[in-house]
Assembly symmetry: C2
DNA sequence: TATTAGCACTCACAATAATCGAGTGCTAAC
DNA sequence: GTTAGCACTCGATTATTGTGAGTGCTAATA
């Protein structure tokens, strides 16, 4: 859908204004704000056209107009240009990361913190995942009697704990031996290909030990399949200040979103073209609870491999420009620091 | 403060009624509800007395009366008796725990789930802590280059991860050796007593290894000092249904409480006499955000040693009877299952 | 033909007034 | 000591009225 230049300009001003004020925009106000030198009457005609085209609606006759989701989509696709962040803010962010890049956990929470602070919306950050594919090393630690902890270490140097109860008691020595067996195996192939048959071929195992390995492997596989990557969220209460969230039900929806970590995680890591910054507006979201929100996400990488995701949840009346700029810069920072952190 | 029997009865009925309805209680309604065969006028006189004594207030002249915090305190101390839960509910809870007692984490989240479901308030559960004192075993796992993971295992068979970056690269073999040194030490004493001098006395270490141990020990001590016990919370949105929480600011307070895990954890584990069920009403709470809430907590033990805590946050107009009964029973269940889980 | 001034009309919102009713305190009788 | 009766209070609800920012339409204008 192509709009003529004037319509485009008018739409832009309306959207910008509504994003700032949350108030329906009328022709008179608009005439002052946009310096096209056209009268309210003309603007009224244009607005009527834009309404017919589906870009605007009136909350009630005789009020100003507000943008539809279609308008936001048009704005994001055709009008908005992602600006570079101000130099000062950039250096601020950069310094902040330098102060928090000692460990993975703190880096993640710091990212969430910065995101919510800079955007004034709710931030969500997904920590890197530990999966079947990047599992490099497994250390089995005896906990007590027949309970053991399996520590899975990835190629990138992340770790994940898996606790299980086995059929037999495992002491420190046995735990060490079991670890060695599994790690010997991991030298040649990935975990998901470790089948029952392959286990039986391992020579050095007593029947009891073999039985234990047979118990352990499925547990490992299962735990690594589950997308249990940590989700950090901050600034939940930021949204409370916006007029559209004075309704308790909206807040309930928001809390439900943030608590359904599984869903959130899947949504943020699913591919969507080759977009670096991914914008989902209102009902473009599959999740029912997100129908009244917009969510802008991005991902961070290590060696070209997607490690995790992060983003911002806000009203559909979101400051798409600013959030996009912020995400864009944070993405670079995160890529930089994660690689420093994990590969150094 | 002692009240005569009639006053006590009247106060009780008012509190019960207000807890149910959240509406100020008037003399007429009351006269019907409590079967003492006294007229509204008499009740009015008694209510005037109770107001003078500080147990009741009127939101405005010519409305019914509502209980003060002092009234709730009196109710909790002098009137309420903790009932045994219904047989059916008890067996339900018990079965639920049997289905979820395979691992510690799930048991904790399940507890939170049950609590919030049975009470309709917000539930908080503190997982057992790993500290200097119960630390039995430390396993050092090489992550990547000079980053290692220290897995601390307690006497009770719980584990905690601590990630650190050291000054030198540590490979698998070295990690094993360092683990052995520390564990050899832990056989005789507790971690907090491992001083610099003692480290220097260990014979089998090369200078480089000694240096690493010198780095590791403070990290361990520090991490175990921090009260970083996991906090599970559920049923945040339960409170939204109560009329006193239609105000967004109240909700903000609640969210702040639940997010300040450190504070919550300290508050719940601090001793308070020998009370099994601890009730804090409104401003009895030190935390500013909790001034408008009541919180009822309890603890669970293993071998007489406090392991963790759990509780419920709700309006001061809370159903103290029911919550106390539930906590009481959950406490027993938790004691039972935790000991099964950790010691079996 | 596109633009604009003018005008009658609409309708949410705020302010004001009227009504209602559950509740009170007080007094006098039981 | 208890209670019936009564005048009174005051928040909540509903009705009424303005107000003003906005509209669409029409006719004049460039």
């Amino acid at each position: 859908m192509e709009l003529n230049i004037r319509k485009k300009k008018i739409l832009e001003v309306i959207i910008r204004d509504y994003i700032n004020t949350a108030e329906p925009v009328g022709s008179r106000t608009l005439s002052k704000r946009c310096n096209l030198g056209i009268s309210p009457a003309t603007i009224r005609n244009e607005m009527a056209d834009l309404e017919e085209l589906g870009f605007l609606v009136q909350p009630h006759t005789s009020s100003g107009r507000i943008p539809t989701q279609q308008a936001y989509r048009y704005y994001v696709d055709e009008i908005m240009e992602i600006q570079k962040l101000e130099k000062m803010i950039r250096t601020d962010i950069h310094r902040g990361f330098l102060d928090h890049n000692t460990e993975l956990g703190p880096t993640m929470s710091h990212t969430a913190q910065v995101l919510s602070q800079l955007t004034n919306y709710t931030a969500v950050v997904l920590a890197p995942r530990v999966t079947n594919f990047n599992c490099k090393h497994v250390q089995i630690v005896s906990l007590i009697k027949n309970r053991v902890l399996m520590v899975v270490v990835t190629q990138e140097g992340m770790a994940k704990n898996i606790e299980v109860t086995l059929s037999q008691e495992v002491d420190t020595m046995l735990a060490l031996k079991l670890s060695n067996v599994i790690n010997g195996f991991l030298k040649n192939t990935i975990l998901s290909e470790m089948s029952s048959d392959l286990i039986d071929q391992i020579q050095e195992l007593s029947p009891a030990e073999s039985k234990l390995i047979h118990e352990i492997i499925p547990h490992l596989k299962k735990a690594l399949m589950e997308d249990a990557s940590e989700v950090h969220s901050t600034g939940l209460t930021n949204l409370f200040n916006y007029p559209e969230f004075s309704d308790v039900n909206k807040i309930k929806q928001l809390i439900n979103i943030v608590q359904e970590k599984q869903v959130l995680s899947e949504m943020m890591t699913s591919k969507d073209g080759n977009q670096v910054i991914r914008i989902k507006i209102g009902s473009e979201n599959d999740n029912e609870n997100l129908k009244d929100f917009s969510i802008i996400t991005s991902t961070y990488e290590l060696d070209g491999e997607m490690m995790g995701a992060f983003g911002v949840i806000g009203p559909t009346r979101m400051n798409y420009d600013n959030v996009s700029s912020v995400l864009n810069y944070i993405r670079n920072e995160l890529n930089l620091h994660i690689s420093n952190l994990l590969m150094k």
